[in-house]
Each structure stands twice: as C-alpha cells, then as structure tokens.
C-alpha cells in the first residue's frame, strides 16, 4: 500500500469529520447533539493521529487516541451531569435558554423561523382524565422502598 497516499486520504477524512463536527457544534441547538458534534471532532483528530502513527511506524498515535478515549469518557460523564442539571433547571435541552450570560444591553437571540407555539408533527389523542384523582400512597412515601 502507498503509505503516503494512505496518510493523505486519512487526513482528509479526519478533516471532513472535524469540519462536520464544527458545523454541528455551531448550529445545533440541542445540547446533546452539540455534544455529539464535539465528539465527532474528537473522532476526526483520532483518525489523524492513528494515520500519522502508522506513517511514522510509531505507537504514539495510538497511545494518544487511547487517552483521547479516556478524556472523552470523562467529558461524557461531566457533560452528561451538566446537561442533566441544566435540563432540570429549564425543562429543556435548548442551549438558547442559557444565553443569560450575555452583556446587559445585548438583545436576546430569538427564533424567527418557527413560531414558539410549534407543535410536533404527530398529535396522538389523549384520554380525558376521568374518575377520582388518586391520592399519594402514604406508605410509599413514608416507608423505605428498598434497602
């Protein structure tokens, strides 16, 4: 196999993954998709590193990718925790809710394309609530459910 051609191909694949991840990170509003995009950028870098490691017949590239995996795992844990916290506070995964850190007199970023009262495509019928509203089970609240 032509090693330098292999390297070149891999570098371009890495660049494409990285650039695609960038686009996703910039434009998507869903925090989890943003995170996926960031991971994709890491993938692009990993591809580059492995290719260079093969080109130089050196294990360093693969070592670095192993550490990238480690860091990605840590990042995933932390990011997940943060996303959960933010979700708990706002009830939404929308990153645009968290633009309160802008300068005082800056105008807020508002959506123009879709009206805020957007309804998802499918509207499934809901049963009308009927009967007596169940009371909270006192025993369940006051007794330990488990060890």
């Amino acid at each position: 196999m032509d090693e330098s051609a292999l390297l070149e191909n891999y570098l371009i694949v890495g660049a494409l993954l990285f650039g695609t991840g960038l686009v996703g990170f910039f434009s998507r509003r869903n925090m989890i998709v943003m995170f996926l995009s960031a991971e994709m950028m890491l993938q692009g870098v990993s591809v580059n590193l492995v290719a260079w490691g093969r080109y130089h017949n050196d294990w360093g590239g693969q070592m670095l990718v192993i550490f990238i995996l480690t860091v990605a795992a840590c990042e995933a844990a932390i990011a997940l925790a943060v996303v959960l916290t933010l979700f708990h506070k706002s009830g939404s995964l929308d990153i645009a809710i968290w633009q309160r850190m802008r300068e005082e007199n800056q105008p807020a970023y508002v959506d123009r394309d879709v009206s805020p009262d957007y309804q998802p495509d499918h509207q499934w019928p809901k049963l009308t609530p009927s009967g007596i509203e169940p009371k909270p089970d006192l025993e369940e609240i006051t007794h330990r459910a488990h060890v």
Binding site: K89, S90, G91, H122, W124, P136, L138, I141, T142, H143, R144, A145, H146, V147
Partner: protein, 413 residues
C-alpha cells in the same frame, strides 16, 4: 479462491446451526418448563400430515412457519425506520459475536490454498477477540433501546430504558470477570485461553471461583435471562421492548435472545471450564491433531455448552425475578467490588508466579486454587454482611409527612 470460500462455508454452517439450535432450544426450554411445573410440554407436532409425533420435535418448525406467515403488522404510531432497524441490529450483533468464538479447535483438513489445518472459528487470529465480543455485546443494547423507543409505547419505552441501564451496569462486572481470565492467560484470543487451560489441566473456574460467579451473574443479566429479565417482564411491562412487535420482527428478537444465551454459555465454557478440554484427552499441537481427537473436542465443547444452557433454563424456572433497585444494587454494590477483589487476587497470584518463575501451573496448582477459593469465601461473606438484599421496610424518619406540593417555577416557564 480458497481463502474466500472457507470462511464463507464456515459462516453459512454457523448461521444455519445457530438458527436451528435457537429454534430447538425454545423447544427444550418448553420441555424443561413443563418438567419443572410437573406437566406435559409440547409433544404433539411431529411430521406433518402423519400421526407421527416424534415427542413434539416438529414444534419449532411449526412455530417458525407461524411466525413467517403471520401478517407483518406495523402499528401506525411507531417510528418506522428505527422500528425495523431494531431487531436487525440486535440479531446482527448477536450473530457477529460468533465470529471469534471457536467451536472446537481445528480440523486436520488440508485444502489447497489454505495453510495448515482449518481452524474451527470464522475469524481466526483476531488478537482482540475478547474485546470484540465485548464490543458487539454492547452494540446489542441498541436493538433493545431503539425497539423500545421506536414503538412509541410507554411499556416498550420503560423496557428500553431499563434495558439500557441494566446492560450498561452489568457490562462492568462482566468485564471484570473477563479481565481475571485474561490476566492469568496473558492473551485476549479465545483459542489461547482454551489452550492454556488444556495444557495445565487446571480450569479457570478452579482458580477464580469468584470471577466465575461474577461472570455468570453478569452474563445472565447481559442475556436478560430470568432473574434479570426486567426489560421484558410480562407482569409489569406486558412484553417490554417487544410489546409492539409481531411476526418476523418478533422472531428476530426472540432468536437474538436465545443467541445471547448461547454466547453466554460458550463464553462461560471457554473462559472458565476449559473449552474443548477434558481430563484424559490428549493435548497435541494443532498441526498433528487426528480426526478423532478433533471430533472429540467438538463433542466435549458442545456437551459443556449444552450443560450450561440447561443450567440457564433451570435457573429460569426456579428463581424469582429481581426488583429493579435490587438489580442495580447487585451490580454496583456487590458484583463490582467482588469483581475487583477477584481481579486483584488474580493479579497478585500472577505476579507471584512471575516472580518465582513458576511456569507450569499443573504441578503448582494448589497455591492459586487455594488463594482463589479463600478470597472467594471471604469476599462472599463480607459482601453478604454489607449488602444484604432483604427489604428494609422501617418507617422513614426523614419523611413522615407527604411532601408539600412545590411548583417548579423554572420548569413551568
């Protein structure tokens, strides 16, 4: 062309064998269920159009036909792409695992274009074999999650969520159980692991009983077999993630489940019970093996696997289901520490053997076996003391009044 033909033949045989086995395992399971419940199992269906019943051996065929000819019903509210993708994913992953699992050792068949005897494994020489198994079993989770989510049904959804939490949780003790074997063998190839045990005659289950326990429990959970079949338990979730499925798609799910069990049985046998090895069998090198020994090895392996599968089924019909919190407690508070203890004990023994340059395990088996069992007993006692699984129903002192309703201001916005 031989380099291509041999694997293709292997794959074809394997897939055929597995699918048939899965079908007949269903029959076996039903028989065992009947036996356990002291009733008659399926015993009617024999050869069609005759009155030959053959103990009901035709039942799987009938079942299969029924599944195949049933209407392929897709509910209107499902996410169609993922609804279709889910069973395919899970079956594909389950089948792909078998690529690295050796069924016996080799066949002394010298075909032109191949070098040496034919290895009885689809992808021989995969250096990361064990991790490959691990990776594909984690892919299998997707089938369950996507199936549950795409069904757009609360029961399915809960089943999918439970499944993902359960499988992720039990992957860790599973890995710890594998790691003990890998450390003591020094290789990730399943063939090497079997060969190592065969050479010394000391199966890993003797030296690592704790690892065996951890691995068996974790593989039960990974296969979602009965004490751990929370994702699909009928009483709570109707059918879990495959509530909305029927026909071929349901068949794929069911086959995949049985394949998981088969994989688990294979792994238990290979990792802990010496694979094709049995005492008294000659252990020659691969290239001078005779047909009789090769066949014997396959028989021994299959017998062991069948025994483990029987064990699985017996457990299924004799053990009640865990509650979900108990399941999680078992994973994180019992199995994880036990697995770590086993790992450290194995590492210590291996280091000791390295330091003393003890190469041949067969003559020095007492030390690792003794340590393994000692550690297992002590760890088991400690775990039993510190993580009792009984239910504590004392009144909670912290909550004696039902909590007042507190509107979440942020969320309501």
């Amino acid at each position: 062309m031989a380099p291509l033909i041999v694997p293709l033949v292997k794959i074809g045989l394997l897939v055929f064998a597995l699918l048939t086995a899965a079908a007949y395992l269903v029959l076996l399971e039903r028989w065992i269920a009947a036996w356990v419940q002291d009733r008659k199992g399926p015993n009617r269906v024999g050869i069609p159009l005759t009155s030959i019943k053959l103990f009901g051996l035709g039942q799987p065929l009938a079942d299969g036909l029924k599944f195949i000819f049933k209407e392929e019903y897709t509910p209107a509210h499902v996410d169609k792409a993922l609804y279709t993708l889910a069973p395919i994913t899970i079956l594909a992953a389950a089948l792909a695992i078998f690529a690295v699992i050796p069924i016996g050792s080799v066949l002394p068949l010298d075909l032109p274009g191949t070098d040496g005897p034919i290895k009885l494994v689809v992808a021989p020489g995969v250096d990361v074999g064990m991790i490959y198994v691990f990776a594909l079993s984690s892919i299998a989770v997707y089938g369950v999650i996507l199936g549950g989510w795409a069904s757009n049904n609360k029961y399915s959804f809960l089943g999918g969520l439970r499944s993902s939490a359960q499988l992720i949780a039990y992957e860790i003790p599973l890995g710890l159980g594998i790691l003990g074997v890998v450390i003591s063998t020094g290789s990730l190839r399943l063939e090497n692991i079997i060969f190592e045990q065969a050479q010394s005659g000391v199966w890993n289950s003797f030296t690592q009983p704790l690892g065996l326990v951890v691995f068996v429990v974790a593989s039960f959970a990974e296969a979602a077999r009965l004490p751990f079949d929370l994702p699909e338990c009928e009483q709570e979730l109707i059918g879990g993630y495959h509530t909305e499925y029927s026909g071929m798609r349901l068949l794929l799910f069911l086959i995949a489940e049985f394949l998981h069990m088969v994989v688990a049985a294979f792994l238990i046998v290979i990792l802990f019970f010496g694979g094709w090895h049995f005492w008294g069998m000659p252990v020659p090198a691969d290239d001078i093996i005779s047909w009789s020994v090769a066949g014997l090895r396959i028989l021994v392996l299959i017998a062991k696997v069948l025994a483990v599968i029987l064990f699985f089924m017996l457990i299924r019909w004799s053990w009640p289901r865990f509650r979900f919190d108990q399941l999680m407690n078992l994973a994180w508070k019992v199995m994880l520490p036990l697995g770590l203890v086993n790992l450290m004990a194995v590492a210590a023994v291996v280091e000791y053997q390295h330091a003393r340059e003890i190469e041949d395990l067969s003559t020095n088996a007492w030390l690792p076996v003794g340590i393994g069992w000692g550690v297992a007993i002590v760890a088991w006692i400690v775990a039993a003391l510190f993580a009792p699984l009984h239910t504590d129903n004392r009144p909670r002192l912290d909550v004696l009044q039902p909590p007042a309703f507190e509107p979440n201001s942020l969320r309501s916005k």
